[in-house]
């Protein structure tokens, strides 16, 4: 098996639209959560959401290449440009070398709704417009970026609910470690518009703490009352160790292993055993024991059952000493993007010697009291970290990465 490394990272999120901003936000525990008045108008149970400013691609990307790009595709393009710059690769490199793309994405709502409205209004599909189909599909991000960047390697989207971005990196690890690809652009992208979250709001999963938006997401806290949807995009340049060495690229981190499992249980209610299997598989594949891991970036979204079950799984595997935090306490739940963004956040922590806080963790519950949750930023040298991502349908992914 070949070694797999990360040489570039990029981020466009609610706590910053580049690596520097996000590093600073993570360090000070800044929340990206606010209120969307439009959701109030629409009768949402919760108007809470991550707040993000859309990028203006008109100045940097030709109209023909923007035509099929969806909202989350715009975020993904910005994050990918940053990752490419950090890795020192460009269009010329992609022209001369076979590079793939694996992105996590699991919805593209607005273009579907717009097309529906147009068809109902006009009774004529030819008046929907040319960009709609390319914006509507789940594969919109990998589809568009592969054309924009002229990529010729593996090219598909991973749709695995809130573990999509993590599985994308895991699959890149598999492709590269097996010698099937030398470099893959990975990531996750998440739309943030109100309509994309309407049905999710409808099942009552979101926090109702609307009087205190920045305190609404409180993973592991006794008084948590639900998640807050968020979005953006994260991108990573993942390549073989030999490829990075040959290019003279700085290695930011090494992907040591990819653990995964499926709960085989309930659509929305997670359990303890599924995530625990994912954690244990990741450790076994990396040939590590729990004490070798310096930090766990938890999936914890701030839902009552999900956080409890993850706390139990973490305790069962790691005991009570390993430092744990959920960066979702600041970003909100970045869903399809989260598994990728949380690797970017973890790499930022590794290279700046700190653990970002699990903000709003004031009182533990029965299970979170057993594990070592970090409520305020601490300075710490991090060598090996594990990042969890879990999703609807009981899909679980755990990645272990080592500082480069």
């Amino acid at each position: 098996m070949r070694r797999v490394v990360i040489t570039g990272t990029g981020i466009y999120s609610t706590i910053g639209t580049n690596l520097d901003e996000v590093r600073n936000s993570l360090f000070v525990g800044k929340s990206g959560i606010g209120i969307d008045p439009f959701r109030k108008e629409l009768g949402f149970m919760s108007p809470l959401t991550g707040i993000i400013a859309p990028p203006d691609l008109k100045q940097i990307l030709h109209r023909k290449l923007r035509k099929g790009v969806s909202e989350q595709g715009e975020y993904a393009y910005m994050a990918t440009l940053e990752a490419m710059a950090q890795a020192g690769v460009d269009l010329e490199y992609f022209e001369k070398n076979e590079v793939g793309i694996l992105f996590g994405n699991d919805s593209s709502t607005t273009p579907v709704i717009d097309a529906y409205n147009k068809i109902i209004e006009k009774k004529d599909t030819s008046l929907v417009g040319a960009g709609s189909i390319f914006q509507s599909m789940n594969s919109t991000v990998s589809m568009n970026l592969s054309v924009i960047l002229k990529l010729r390697g593996v090219n598909f989207t991973v749709s695995a609910a809130c573990a999509s971005g993590s599985h994308a990196i895991g699959l890149a690890h598999m492709f590269i470690s097996q010698g099937m690809q030398d470099m893959i652009i990975c990531g996750g992208a998440q739309e943030i518009n109100a309509f994309s979250m309407g049905s999710f709001d409808g099942i009552g999963a979101f926090s109702k703490r609307i009087d205190q938006p920045t305190k609404a997401v409180r993973p592991f806290d006794r008084d948590r009352d639900g998640l807050v949807p968020s979005g953006g995009a994260a991108a990573l340049i993942v390549e073989s160790y030999e490829s990075a060495q040959k290019r003279g690229a700085k290695i930011l981190a090494e992907v040591l292993s990819y653990g995964f499992s499926s709960n085989g249980d309930h659509l929305s209610v997670p359990n303890v055993s599924g995530p625990q299997i994912s954690l244990e598989r990741a450790l076994k594949m990396a040939n590590l024991s729990a004490k070798d891991v310096d930090y766990v970036n938890a999936h914890a979204t701030s839902t009552p059952v999900g956080d409890s079950n993850e706390a139990q799984a973490i305790f069962n595997v790691f005991g009570g000493k390993t430092p744990i935090s959920s960066t979702k306490s600041m970003t909100g739940h970045e869903m399809w993007m989260g598994g990728a963004s949380e690797i970017v956040y973890s790499i930022l922590m590794m290279h700046n010697d700190f653990i970002a806080p699990n903000i709003n963790f004031n009182n533990p519950d029965e299970f979170s009291a057993q594990i070592n949750i970090i409520p305020q930023t601490i300075h710490k040298n991090l060598n090996i970290i594990l990042s969890n991502s879990f999703g609807f349908g009981g899909t679980n992914s755990s990645l272990i990465i080592k500082k480069g």
Binding site: K58, H62, R63, S126, L127, V128, G129, A130, G131
Partner: protein, 81 residues
């Protein structure tokens, strides 16, 4: 609507919606060779013409109009029919 008004509206959407350089827009400009309009762009031209002029172009109509002169003429005739 006279031809001058049609030309103004068409040129405006070519510049704003299709981001075409005003310098290459002329009566003799060819859609494919000069304006870099491709098959997907023609789909959007149908949408935009319907929005501005309230009629629907067909693929057959478009095939008869390789340049802007014939495009302006066709639209002017259609909106005044």
């Amino acid at each position: 609507m006279n031809r001058t008004e049609v030309v103004e509206i068409v040129n405006q959407f070519l510049i704003e919606e299709f981001e075409i350089d005003p310098a290459v827009i002329s009566e003799d400009a060819q859609f494919i060779d000069d304006l870099d309009i491709d098959s997907l762009d023609f789909v959007d031209i149908v949408v935009i013409v319907e929005k501005h002029f309230k009629f629907k172009l067909t693929a057959e109509d478009l095939s008869k109009m390789p340049d802007l002169r014939r495009f302006y003429d066709f639209i002017t005739a259609k909106v005044n029919a």
